[in-house]
């Protein structure tokens, strides 16, 4: 909540100090003066001092008249004096009863991007009240997010936590304070043209009306959507984490083992039952690791049971074993060669695909560059993209290609064509990568077997030439070799188990987040509280419309749109034989448009009686009657405005309505009338 307690304008020339001091109360305040006397200056000054110029337009021009910027005179007939220094100062307070003095200069010494504030601090021991000065900046990057940015500070002063909202370019930004104020402050020139805002579009925030209203009404819908976005982001992270770990598994991070049954993306099933089988490549085929280790253990046990015999006795069997080993050795050598050739072929293919994709990337970028130029406007595109010859005006279908019988693809079509090629090549690339991984694994397994066969061969040969009486060592050596392999497998199994545990953990978290996301997805985003709030707002609007004598439609037919909460009207549609919702825009008369705006803004303010909203508690109407084609009776607006709760709400109205009419209309209702004749900025010395 924010209330303006006082406003001070100063415009200082070499001879005179011009200025005005206004005190505002809570509740209704009316600034009354003739046209072109400077009422709007006072209200615009509030926008200026809060650094909110950008809620009015994208550029940073000062929204204040000449008198505050360049030259000023006392009456219409006096000569102008040059303004040497000028500033605006206001005092505001908030829901915590904190008082704050804010000053921003326009002309003169201080940088207009600087906003100075003084907060009064209750000193300890009933000592004198101290003022603490702090300077902030506006309109530089970070003004809404950084500690020393004024809007960051202002949001904190108002008790707002600004949500992050998506922009058109896909990035996020805070819902800037500038986007919210048009919902409280109706500026004279453009403010009356539309029911909501007009909200500034130059921040390029998606769906800005909806986001702003969701925040002002403090709806859960926005929070739900943000939670959903957050969930999506985290699920995305889990997905990529999963892919990384899976790649470690399949790309030989664990040697010589192949994994079957790890899905490409996390699944709920995997989180419950990780059905993975590990396989090793032995004897020319993939065997489940468990089975292979069992076989190996049996073989070792068998070897260990063989009684040791002397070399002489073992000669025949050793000779035979040697033959078998030689055969195996040759076979493995051949297999290794085959695997190597295949690997080389696939690698070649893989490289060719990569190169092709690189070329496609460059080509796509060029096409996209050409397309992006369209954003620079037709002047540029017309000048650089010739569709016909500038001299003879023949159609240039060939681009810069040499003439051929077929025409050239259009830009968009060509981009789509390149993208489809990329898709195809990418999937081919992925296939070769997978194949390469497997071949690499198989190659390594064969290589290991090959080396083992080699050493077996060697040990058998050595066994034959040992002294005849010594004990034959071939069996022992073989047993040792096999034991080593078994140990290796067990170690691999352990490492793999670790990785699989990680994967299961990821899958579990993934399943949890996904189910939460699914919960959020069902139904619309509005909570029960939201729905009550909206229907309360709707009935408040309808009530005000009745009081203001809105007559373009029966007020009971005015409803609020569900997408951006804009008032709309239910009309009978002949085609569909039912009621349809229609935007009010052009259907209502101009003066009714203004009545609708009064109703809407007052209702937004009053909604916080029963519900928790983020409304600033302040409504400013600059010339609420002037824009209408036929004069509207402002009395009912004044009367309704005088009804607001003075402890929480403040309404500032600038009007050129006659003073006696205001007094008559309001009777003894509470209000604060500030009346001027002539220019509001007057010499003070």
């Amino acid at each position: 909540m924010i209330q303006v307690c006082s406003l001070k304008l100063r415009s200082i020339t070499a001879r005179t100090v011009y200025g005005v001091d206004l005190d505002f109360n809570s509740g209704l305040n009316i600034v009354q003066a003739d046209n072109t006397s400077g009422k709007s200056t006072c209200l615009q000054a509030i926008i200026y001092v809060l650094g909110l110029e950008r809620s009015l337009s994208a550029n940073l021009s000062v929204p204040l008249p000449f008198a505050m910027r360049e030259r000023i005179h006392e009456t219409k007939d006096d000569p102008y004096e040059e303004v040497l220094q000028s500033y605006v100062e206001i005092e505001v307070c908030n829901h915590r009863d904190e008082k704050l003095r804010i000053r921003r200069s326009i002309v003169g010494d201080a940088d207009p991007k600087l906003i100075s504030t003084w907060s009064t601090e209750e000193a300890e021991d009933d000592g004198p009240v101290r003022e603490r000065q702090r300077d902030f900046f506006v309109h530089d990057p970070g003004s809404a997010t950084r500690e020393s940015g004024f809007h960051h500070f202002l949001a904190g002063f108002l008790g707002w936590e600004l949500p992050d909202v998506p922009r058109f370019d896909g990035t996020e930004c805070p819902l800037y304070v500038e986007t919210l104020f048009p919902m409280f402050f109706v500026e004279q020139k453009r403010g009356w043209s539309t029911v909501q805002g007009p909200l500034p579009t130059h921040f390029r925030i998606q769906d800005i009306n909806r986001r702003v209203l969701e925040f002002v009404l403090n709806l859960d819908a926005g929070k739900v959507r943000r939670e959903r976005a957050e969930l999506n982001k985290r699920i995305g992270f889990l997905g990529s984490d999963w892919t990384d770990k899976r790649r470690v598994l399949s790309k030989g991070g664990v040697d010589l083992i192949r994994f079957i049954g790890v899905p490409k993306t996390p699944t709920a099933e995997f989180s419950h039952q990780a059905a993975i089988s590990l396989e090793v490549f032995t004897d020319g085929e993939w065997l489940p690791l468990e089975l292979a280790s069992k076989e190996l253990q049996d073989e070792i046990a068998k070897l260990n049971n063989i009684e040791l015999v002397s070399t002489e006795e073992a000669e025949a069997s050793t000779q035979k074993a040697l033959e078998v080993a030689q055969l195996k050795y040759d076979e493995l050598g051949a297999m290794f060669e085959v695997a190597r050739t295949e690997f080389r072929t696939v690698l070649e293919e893989n490289r060719a695909l990569k190169k092709r994709l690189e070329v496609l990337d460059i080509d796509l970028k060029r096409h996209q560059d050409t397309k992006k130029l369209m954003a620079l406007g037709s002047e540029v595109t017309d000048a650089v993209a010739f569709e016909s010859c500038p001299t003879c005006h023949q159609h240039l279908t060939q681009e810069l290609l040499p003439p051929s019988s077929a025409g050239a693809m259009a830009l968009d079509e060509n981009i789509a064509f390149i993208k489809s090629q990329q898709l195809m090549y990418k999937s081919a690339l992925a296939a070769t990568e997978e194949r390469l991984g497997e071949l690499r694994l198989r190659g390594r397994s064969i290589e290991q077997d090959y080396k083992e066969a080699q050493s077996e061969l060697r040990s058998l040969k050595r066994a034959l030439v040992r002294p005849a009486s010594s004990v034959s060592r071939a069996t022992i050596e073989k047993s040792v070799r096999l034991q080593a392999r078994l140990d290796q497998w067990e170690e691999m199994q352990e490492r793999a188990d670790g990785l699989v545990d990680d994967l299961v953990a990821i899958a579990k978290e993934w399943a949890r987040l996904s189910s939460r996301l699914k919960e959020l997805r069902t139904g619309d985003d509005f909570s029960l509280e939201d729905k009550n709030k909206i229907s309360r707002l709707q009935s408040l609007v309808q009530g005000h419309l009745r009081t203001f004598d809105f007559h373009s439609f029966p007020p009971s037919e005015i409803t609020l749109a569900r997408d951006n909460f804009r008032p709309q009207v239910l009309v009978f549609d002949k085609d569909s034989d039912g009621e349809i919702e229609k935007d009010i825009g052009f259907e209502a008369s101009a003066s009714d448009g203004i009545r609708l705006k009064w109703s809407y803004y007052l209702s937004l303010l009053e909604l916080d009686e029963n519900y928790d909203t983020n409304h600033a508690g302040l409504v400013v109407f600059d010339e609420p009657g002037q824009q209408a084609a036929d004069p509207v009776n402002l009395t009912s607006l004044f009367q309704e405005s005088a009804k607001v709760r003075p402890d929480r709400h403040q309404i500032l109205i600038a009007t050129s309505e006659k003073e006696h009419a205001i007094k008559e209309g309001l009777g003894d209702r509470p209000y604060n009338l500030i009346s001027f004749s002539g220019y509001i900025l007057k010499p003070l010395n």
């Binding site: 060029r366 996209q368 050409t370 954003a375 650089v384």
Partner: protein, 161 residues
């Protein structure tokens, strides 16, 4: 073997348009040429210089090579001057569209941006989203690629007589 088509409807074949490499798009090459001219001294350049830049800008490898020559890491003779027919068409369009015009400077023919060309080139230059790598190259090396440098490259390429 013969087929009979049973239909009383007329049908026709349409020739599918063929894809065009991005660098042969008018809408890509003209802006690129404008950028080349825009970063040249006096917004004008000889045809030889434009051909050189045109060659250099079209691939990462040739950009790399030219920058090595500029830095003196490679000899001038390493550069192979090429003349691309498509570039000639591109120049015709550029002058035909009144984005640039021929003039004679120092006894050599040169092509110079017109006011319209300058205006468009400035807007391309200020657009941060397109031609990123090309602009980066031009910004870094354009000032070093003078007409004198181009002449040196041309002379180095000349067959010894």
């Amino acid at each position: 073997m013969s087929y009979k088509i049973h239909t009383d409807q007329n049908f026709s074949f349409e020739r599918k348009p063929s894809p065009v490499p991005g660098d042969l798009r008018i809408g890509w090459r003209i802006p690129l040429t404008l950028l080349m001219l825009n970063c040249s001294r006096g917004k004008k350049a000889s045809l030889a210089k434009l051909n050189l830049l045109n060659d250099a800008l079209r691939s990462e490898r040739s950009r790399e090579k030219l920058s090595k020559i500029i830095r003196g890491e490679t000899a001038h003779i390493e550069w192979r001057m090429r003349v691309e027919p498509a570039f000639a068409r591109n120049m015709d369009l550029l002058t035909g569209g009144q984005l640039a015009e021929w003039e004679v400077a120092n006894g050599k023919a040169a092509i110079c941006l017109t006011n319209k060309g300058k205006d468009i080139a400035d807007r391309l230059e200020n657009d941060e989203e397109s031609f990123i790598s090309e602009k980066a190259f031009l910004r870094e090396y354009a000032s070093k690629i003078t007409e004198g440098f181009v002449t040196q490259i041309l002379l180095a390429n000349k067959a010894p007589s």
